[in-house]
Symmetry: C2
Subunit: 280 residues, 2 copies
């Protein structure tokens, strides 16, 4: 089997990356995907860089060498590209994984930062994300490189993920929390607001009500899908025939049933393939 | 060294069990403690029973055989008793650990349920806890055995832990969330409210404002301390001389610095001993 026939790997700390998979399935209708959700060790957002790197490595190697039932006979590889859908892992592990692994790695952070830089190269760009993504300064680093004249604001929003997981998506408490978190950055009238966590697109309505209409919202999942499309074309490894179903396979480290239920929130439909429990 | 000179092990998924350690240090001034916080894999509250049991076993065995620098020369044991300070682990793993290990195991769930049963043997007892503690029905099972005539109400409060961790302890959002969570159980006018999660005592003020003055609050940490005291006396393994300092040693699986900072919230003072990073 040739590289272009291989699936694309997508990994996340849990279910949040399904918002990224959703965008990928829509933007790349010929590609197949294997998704890994580390549901036993979720969340990554409050873990140290060393632990996030260790977990990310284990998962990347699993997807590259062990996971699906197809591979590239010449290289022995089982995915042709890896999407790091978890912002924390993308911030703390993607650059290192790119040095260690022989396939292209695309992180949500780089993709989101690149789109924001195109939208407001000299404007004000605000980033909201988990505590460790903000503490890593990774969005600021990418943005400083991609839009050196832009003004960058950041804000950690640690309660957004538990609010999504509680299902309080369109809820007065969530709106109140959003107003509190966004108060300081809104004083600076940002041109762009980057949703720097895969859970945040689910709160897009509550967030939109808290910000001015002229502030453009960058949802990294859409940005990633565009970057993947471009990279596949450039490397000539895009799939050219319509793939067999199922279009995706799923690996989780805990609770496949809970994962299947959560898919309805994050993927906005049932899972398009089987879920398998894996102990790393 | 004899059994009575050994320290008592305390384990939790993270920092929350420090509220239990706080009560133990006060109630048992002659005892020494080793505390294990599984900060790399916190929280347990949304993990499956199989995973919680696996993690709890690893930690119990570590404390029993590998952790401190002292042991019982006859048995090779390094702790004389194990306190499961995490409600989820207490619910899902403590009974099994008691069967597998040669030392007494005391879980916060059993201790809290016993105290509530004494306070309202025929009354209405409400339990608030994490999603998986409530789903396990473990409080209801203990209460049905200890107070078969009591009426039992339960409510999961998944946002309380992230609110404590965000530091929104005395905050209008926390009060609003408490009112929403407690609304249904308060309609039944409970005599006792069990705080079934180690983080909840930190929110005691906000919770107290949301409930009637006549509802008694059972904080499991105090209940555990009393049960430990009794058990040590009964088994004749209480320490009789004043121990050397430090009175406690700490093991964490991630971020010792973050753990040290969190101690100020949960232990209400600096850690009374060294913290060591352990990879299980």
């Amino acid at each position: 089997m040739k590289t272009k026939n291989l699936p694309i790997g997508v990994f996340d700390s849990g279910v949040g990356g399904l918002t990224v998979l959703d965008a990928l399935l829509k933007a790349l209708p010929r590609e197949r995907f294997v998704y890994f959700g580390d549901t036993a060790r979720v969340p990554y957002g409050n873990k140290s860089p060393a632990v996030v790197l260790q977990y990310s490595r284990e998962i990347a190697r699993y997807l590259l060498h062990a996971s699906p039932s197809i591979d590239d006979l010449e290289t022995g590889r089982r995915i042709k590209m890896l999407i790091v859908a978890c912002n924390t892992a993308s911030a703390l592990a993607a650059p290192r994984l790119q040095k260690e692994l022989p396939i292209p790695i695309i992180g949500v952070v780089e993709a989101g930062a690149a789109q924001a830089a195109r939208l407001a190269p000299r404007g004000t760009i605000a980033v909201i994300a988990t505590k460790s993504t903000i503490a890593s300064s990774i969005y600021s680093e990418y943005l400083k490189r991609l839009a050196p004249k832009a003004k960058i604001l950041t804000q950690a929003c640690p309660l957004f993920v538990p609010l999504v997981e509680e299902g309080w998506v369109d809820h007065p408490v969530t709106e109140q929390v959003a107003r509190i978190y966004l108060e300081n950055i809104l004083k600076q009238k940002p041109d762009v607001l980057i949703l720097g966590c895969t859970h945040y697109p689910i709160l897009q309505a509550a967030i939109a009500r808290a910000i001015p209409a002229k502030t453009k919202v960058v949802d990294s999942s859409g940005a990633v899908a565009r970057q993947v499309q471009e990279k596949l074309r450039k490397l000539k490894i895009a799939q050219s025939i319509r793939p067999l179903t199922p279009r995706a396979g799923f690996y989780v480290t805990d609770d496949p049933e809970g994962f299947r239920r959560a898919a309805k929130i994050f993927l906005r439909r049932a899972l398009p393939g089987p879920v398998k429990l894996v102990r790393l």
